[in-house]
């Protein structure tokens, strides 16, 4: 059954699929179903009624038949009783007769009533009544005759008559019954037909009603399901809306006409740190603002010309809010007034967006931009940016303004043709196009640009494209360094370098000449001296007897001077060679070196005998041969200039000490000789400078010059302290070796 009904439902559902069921359809369906049922009910009632009527008629007919048979029976009883009376004269036999006299008319009335609708039967009944009445009269006559003791013969005719009447009555009754039965059969047939039709109507009508109801049921069921779904959807929607309202990423609030907050969402509460109970109906909008923002809001609310008043809404108004814990945040607010049908303001609804992050980002961006701007502004090279589309300037820095001589207000929006000679502008623009077309950096090592105030300037320019996210060039960035001064300086430097090179070459030539000169000196000047000496000797030898003593003395002077000149030449050559030969550096034991020098100066003599004493001398790093010459010259001088003392004394000391420049070794040669006047101190170390005549002390005046040159070439210093006739001290200092720092050799 279920399967069947389910199938039906499914089928009906298919049939009615997609049909919307409106109230009219439902009403129509139900009305038609009710009409059908009503029709069925009426028909059923009528059919039943027919049936009942037919049954009643059958009963009536049966009663009628029974009554008719009863009438015949009463007649027979009356006849039988009369006969008995006739035979016996016993009155008791007349009892049936008397009863039938009452009963028959009653029965006849009943029959007549039953057959009231049948005229034919009424006629027959009237005939029957007539017959019965004749029979009863016949019987009465018999009775009266008997009573009157009439002979039997007299009575006899009545008997015969009675019999005829009886037969006729019987026949009539049979006809009536037969007719009634025929009618009964006809009626029963009609009732049967009616019953069949009623059954059909009931079955079909019920089926139709059932179908209509079923369709409506299915449709209704679908509708109910649809409504339930719609209701669920609506409920979900409402929940979603509520969820959306409460958990929106922005804060919502509504303000009532009294200015108090009416409704706030959860976001609002979480932002502000209040509970709903603390807010709703208790706080004004301005109560959660900083005093400054609150004042602004209140002023706006009072201003009749405010956008809120004029337009009914405001957008993107920024206020600073205060959380319950006192911290602050910035929010942008959109608000709209909600009015009732009468146009009165009932509430205003506001949406708050937290813009603290945005503000911070804006601030950072501002700072970042400021920083970048400041960087660009302070770059000492000209920075310019051109729009890639039309090559008009969109950016210029201060160095650019200063270089070109135009304020950026004049530059921006213009292109090269507005400021530079056509030729230059064409060249610049061509380069720009090249940069933008190839998307590469172009380096222009040198280009000329005509400026307003500074004339033509030379620039070193780099141009590069700035591309957008799709890789298309948007801007052209240019960086130009003004290299005019540098170029000028470079040219100057080149000139100087050239000059220097020329002078160096000259100097080299001079040096070579000097070298060749000293070579000549060493070679060519000595030959004449040798000739002077040699020929003087030859003169002495060959002409000895002709030259007197004075002549010989003079020849001696000639030879002495020649020897002096030879010494001068040797010393000069030694001095000049010092400037050329390289200075080697090796550890030098100064004690040994001094002994060596003394042994060279005075071979085989004990220093003590010479009056020379020396303490321990710190070793240094230097050129042993050159330093030996220093000692030879200094010690030689000291011995020479103290040689006239009764007890000549020469003391050699040394020490090392720390200076700002590092450790130094200082050596001193002190004598008690003739000394010198400090006012001639500056002449001591000059070449060929002498403070004594060669008559007093022999010498060429080169020794101390050599000392100074050697010490200087060792990065040392030399100086002297002296007093006339009281001796002199000659000092020199040299940079100490590392070994000296450690106190080791």
């Amino acid at each position: 059954m279920n399967t069947w009904s389910d199938r039906t439902v499914v089928w009906l559902s298919r049939l009615t699929a997609g049909r919307q069921l409106g109230a009219r359809e439902v009403t129509l369906g139900f009305v038609s179903a009710m009409v059908l049922l009503l029709v069925i009910a009426v028909m059923s009632y009528r059919s039943l009624d027919d049936f009942i009527g037919a049954n009643a008629r059958v009963d009536r007919t049966r009663e009628e038949i029974s009554d008719l048979e009863d009438i015949l029976s009463q007649l027979k009883d009356a006849e039988t009783g009369q006969r008995g009376f006739l035979i016996t004269a016993d009155e008791t036999f007349l009892e049936p007769y008397k009863a039938s006299l009452v009963r028959i008319p009653e029965l006849l009335d009943m029959v007549r009533t039953h057959a009231a609708d049948n005229g034919e039967q009424q006629v027959r009944l009237s005939d029957l009544e007539e017959l019965i009445a004749q029979r009863m009269q016949s019987l009465e006559r018999g009775i009266r005759m008997k009573r009157s003791n009439a002979p039997v013969r007299d009575i006899r005719p009545s008997l015969d008559e009675g019999k005829t009447l009886m037969d006729r009555s019987r026949a009539l009754v049979a006809a009536i019954i037969s007719d009634e039965e025929a009618r009964l059969a006809r009626r029963a047939e009609a009732v049967g037909r009616n019953a069949i039709r009623a059954k059909e109507v009931i079955v079909i009508g019920n089926a139709a009603a059932l179908l209509v109801i079923a369709i409506i049921f299915v449709l209704l069921r679908g509708e109910v399901a649809r409504r339930r779904r719609a209701q669920h959807a609506a409920q979900r929607n409402a929940e979603e809306v509520s969820e959306l309202y409460n958990n929106a990423p922005c804060a919502y609030h509504s303000v009532g006409p009294d200015g108090l907050l009416l409704r706030v969402n959860d976001t609002w509460l979480s932002w502000f740190g209040y509970t709903r109970e603390e807010v709703v109906g208790k706080l004004h909008h301005q109560d959660v603002m900083t005093p400054e923002s609150a004042a602004r809001l209140v002023a706006l609310q009072r201003d009749p010309g405010s956008p809120m008043k004029r337009l009914g809404h405001v957008q993107d108004v920024e206020y600073e809010y205060v959380r319950k814990d006192g911290t602050r945040f910035m929010a942008s607010i959109n608000a709209a007034i909600v009015r009732n049908s009468g146009g009165d303001r009932i509430i205003s609804r506001s949406t708050l967006f937290d813009i603290t992050g945005r503000k911070r980002a804006e601030q950072l961006l501002r700072e970042s931009n400021l920083f970048l701007d400041s960087v660009i502004e302070n770059i000492p090279d000209m920075i310019f940016v051109k729009d890639a589309a039309d090559l008009r300037f969109v950016r210029f820095n201060r160095a650019g303004e200063e270089l070109l001589g135009y304020p950026r207000g004049q530059l921006i929006g213009c292109n090269d043709y507005d400021f530079f000679p056509t030729g230059e502008a064409e060249a610049f623009t061509a380069r720009d196009r090249e940069v933008l077309a190839n998307g590469v950096v172009v380096d222009i090592p040198e280009e000329s640009v005509m400026t307003r105030d500074k004339g033509a300037r030379l620039l070193h320019t780099k141009k590069l494209p700035i591309v957008d996210e799709t890789g298309r060039p948007r801007y052209l960035l240019g960086i130009s360094e003004d290299i005019t001064e540098r170029k000028r300086a470079e040219a100057e430097e080149r000139k100087l370098t050239e000059e220097l090179r020329r002078r160096t070459a000259q100097l080299e030539v001079t040096n070579r000449e000097l070298e060749s000169f000293s070579y000549s000196v060493s070679h060519d000047l000595r030959s004449p001296l040798r000739a002077i000496d040699g020929f003087s000797r030859m003169l002495e030898e060959d002409y000895a007897e002709r030259i007197d003593a004075e002549g010989k003395r003079m020849l001696g002077v000639v030879r002495e001077n020649a020897a002096q000149m030879a010494q001068l030449i040797d010393d000069l050559l030694a001095f000049s060679r010092l400037g050329q030969q390289p200075v080697s550096a090796a550890p030098v034991d100064m004690d040994l070196l001094v002994r060596d020098a003394l042994a060279g100066l005075f071979p085989g003599k004990d220093p003590a005998v010479l009056g020379v004493e020396f303490g321990p001398l710190p070793p240094v790093s230097g050129d042993r041969n050159l330093l030996r010459q220093v000692w030879v010259n200094l010690v030689g001088n000291a011995i020479k200039y103290s040689s006239r003392r009764e007890t000549p004394r020469v003391r050699i000391t040394g020490r090392n000490y720390q200076t700002a420049a590092g450790r130094e070794c200082e050596y001193c040669v002190e004598d008690n000789g003739v000394g010198f006047d400090m006012k001639y101190h500056h002449k001591l170390f000059g070449v060929f400078q002498r403070l004594h005549s060669s008559g007093d002390f022999p010498g060429t005046g080169v020794g101390l010059a050599i000392v100074q040159r050697v010490v200087t070439r060792h990065n040392g210093r030399v100086w002297a302290v002296g007093r006339l006739n009281e001796g002199a001290s000659f000092y020199f200092s040299l940079p100490a070796t590392r070994e000296n720092d450690n106190g080791q050799v």
Binding site: Y519, S522, H523, D524, R526, S527, P528, L529, R530, A531, D533, G534, F535, S536, R537, M538, A562, A563, A566, D570, L573
Partner: protein
Amino acid sequence: MDRYESVEVLLAEDNPSDAELALRAFRKSNFANKVHWVKDGEEALEYVMCTGQYADRDPNHPPRLLLLDLKMPKVDGIDVLRRIKSEERFKTIPVVIMTSSNEERDVVESYRLGVNSYIVKPVDFAKFVATVSEIGMYWMLTNRVPQ
């Protein structure tokens, strides 16, 4: 007949004074007749190689000692030294540089080219005579050369 038959010392000296002094010194050592004086390097080479004005000289009689001044006109002493020491047949001739130059580079260059002795002429005449005499004695008498 070779007029240079007796010559055993060739003196190349452009300075006549120096030459005279040298010759006087040789004379004192009794070498004077064995010394031939040429005035420059070119002449020295011509003598040694028997060319030029010395073309008729006997090449089988090379000098036993060559005294060379360094600084001479035309061909200087160093060049003469180089030429002589670079030719197999003259290589064995002892060459003594006798010069006024005390320059180290001259000394080094001379020894590099194969000089047999390098003497700086003393300015003092007595020393000069002694030196020349010593040279003559050493190279003429003491020293032995391949035959």
